[in-house]
Symmetry: C2
Subunit: 325 residues, 2 copies
């Protein structure tokens, strides 16, 4: 049964990953100023967060460096410049590398030459061989490596078993369930967790959870996952992330009972920095249009456009969504 049911205790293998700058960067084109980044870094240390994801390591061939903030690319130099290299790190650093959007052979240096600790390889289920190449590359360079399986709610179980078996045979450390569409109900997630755990146990891997809040279930699904044996938990400050956003860090640290975690610094950071983003017009979070793409298990891109256009004609949007099916 669910281990988290022992709510007053905790499991020491649980890790919390702050994905604010990476998933949140998707709604402000990665334009976080240096003060924000330094404060977030210090806050993560005080809050006991285990990993901090800084953004993407995106290809400069594919993406215009003038169109995005520097955390879309996460150059080692920029990381060192802003965060510094102050001896013993209390929170490990991560960047995400998307299949097909990262020049990993050249842009990811050996770990000894980089402040980054963890490479998060993001892939859809149909690009697993490319992901495996990236995993092996990063692993051979000395990094911790996770593989984030996106859009899992639209994958076939048969395909998923093949993918998990292939990934199990790589040197990847952590395999992530990514509910990109925020479409999963906790009971469906429980089945997926059981499947991932089956392969993870067999191949001695760890499983992670990355939730989206389309149906107001990001936190609930993260609770479900940790209760089902998932150890790596993604969260973002104030839920900042693409569309409906993610599991809020403040909710997650309110749940976890390991005394290393502390919610107060998170509250303080939100008060000082996150409201400012909202006031500047950066938009994220639950709303009806995201609920609908969640219910219909669709990519939220049309809901993001609906939001951007400040539309409120939900019934028209409902018809657009259902006629696409």
């Amino acid at each position: 049964m669910k281990e988290i049911a022992k709510l007053l205790g905790y499991r020491k293998d649980v890790r919390v990953i702050d994905a604010t700058m990476r998933d949140g960067g998707l709604v402000n084109d990665f334009r976080f100023d240096d003060e924000f980044v330094r404060a977030l870094y210090e806050t993560n240390i005080r809050a006991g967060v285990d990993y901090m994801e800084l953004g993407y390591r995106a290809s400069k061939e594919l993406f215009d460096v003038n169109r995005y903030g520097k955390w879309k690319f996460c150059d080692d130099e920029d990381i060192l410049d802003v965060i510094g290299d102050n001896g013993e790190k209390k929170v490990k650093l991560a960047v995400m590398a998307d299949v097909g959007r990262c020049d990993y052979r050249t842009d990811i240096r050996p770990r000894t030459e980089s402040p980054v600790d963890l490479i998060r390889v993001a892939t859809y289920i149909n690009t697993i061989p490319a992901a495996i190449d990236m995993i092996e590359d990063a692993k051979s360079k000395g990094y911790e490596v996770s593989c984030n399986l996106m859009a899992i709610s639209s994958a076939q179980e048969g395909d998923l078993r093949v993918a998990l078996d292939m990934l199990g045979q790589t040197p990847v450390d952590v395999i992530y369930i990514v509910d990109s569409f925020g479409a999963l109900y906790p009971e469906q997630l429980a089945r997926l967790c059981a499947l991932f755990m089956e392969f993870a146990d067999h191949y001695s891997k760890t499983v992670g959870m990355h939730a989206h809040n389309n149906q107001q279930l990001a936190f609930a699904n993260t609770i479900e996952a940790v209760g089902d044996g998932v150890n790596w938990l993604d969260a973002t400050y104030y839920g900042m992330g693409r569309g409906a956003g993610n599991c809020p860090m403040e909710n997650l640290l309110g749940l976890l009972k390991n005394p290393k975690y502390s919610v107060y610094p998170v509250i303080k950071f939100i008060e000082n920095y996150m409201w400012k983003l909202k006031d500047e017009g950066v938009v994220w979070g639950y709303d009806l249009q995201y609920l609908l793409t969640g219910i219909f298990n669709q990519h939220p891109r049309s809901a993001i456009a609906f939001t951007k256009e400040k539309r409120r004609d939900y019934t028209e949007y409902y018809k657009e969504l259902t006629s696409q099916e």
Copy 2:
């Protein structure tokens, strides 16, 4: 195991109760205009909602009729005047009667003389004898009757067993779990559901769930409850309700697979009426201050005041909350 896990099927005993005007009335002093009420009534019929709670039947000795809209009192005449008495009703009508705040002997007439079908008796665990008197009064007058056990997250299990045994021996039809503080995690709720179901099975009662969204878990906890055998599910349009609000109707009808339910009319109503309320300055919904009272298992009244004063000094508020403990 969880019955709702068979997500593609449904359980025919499930009932959906629209509590928008009652719990939502707490944030606009029950000032819903007649057009709103008629449209909501029609929408509930189209959406397949089973019961519609119109408000409180509050004592006019205790509450000033000029300070509140008429749905604080729900006079039979007002109900008939707005909704009419159009033969066969497709959605049953309910009012809430609070222990100590309702002159039930005089203000609740025999059912044959009233458009109301269901009396919802709301009580804390320390006023069960008074609640039982109200239950027996309403039952003797011919109504369906539920008893809503409020602030359940701060009740002792020993007391709860006594209360459930006392209620089991009354003619009450439905016993509700009410997470007034939005403090429960799904696993804690699962234990409470098991306890309520134990007495409900013994005494042939039905169990209901009324959730609050302080931790963004109102919908998740409603899913948990229905999976644990709870049949009566409260929801409100756009989650409208006191403080962080309730389980949103649109989320719940997106989950339930009984073809009698339809989410489209709900979306339409929100587009036409709920946004108007928001634009007029009526405030409800999840925010950090409600998360904190949820985490600390406290009544949200201080968070409601924080919201009203448009405060954003969350860290000060955090200290106020924790120093009260």
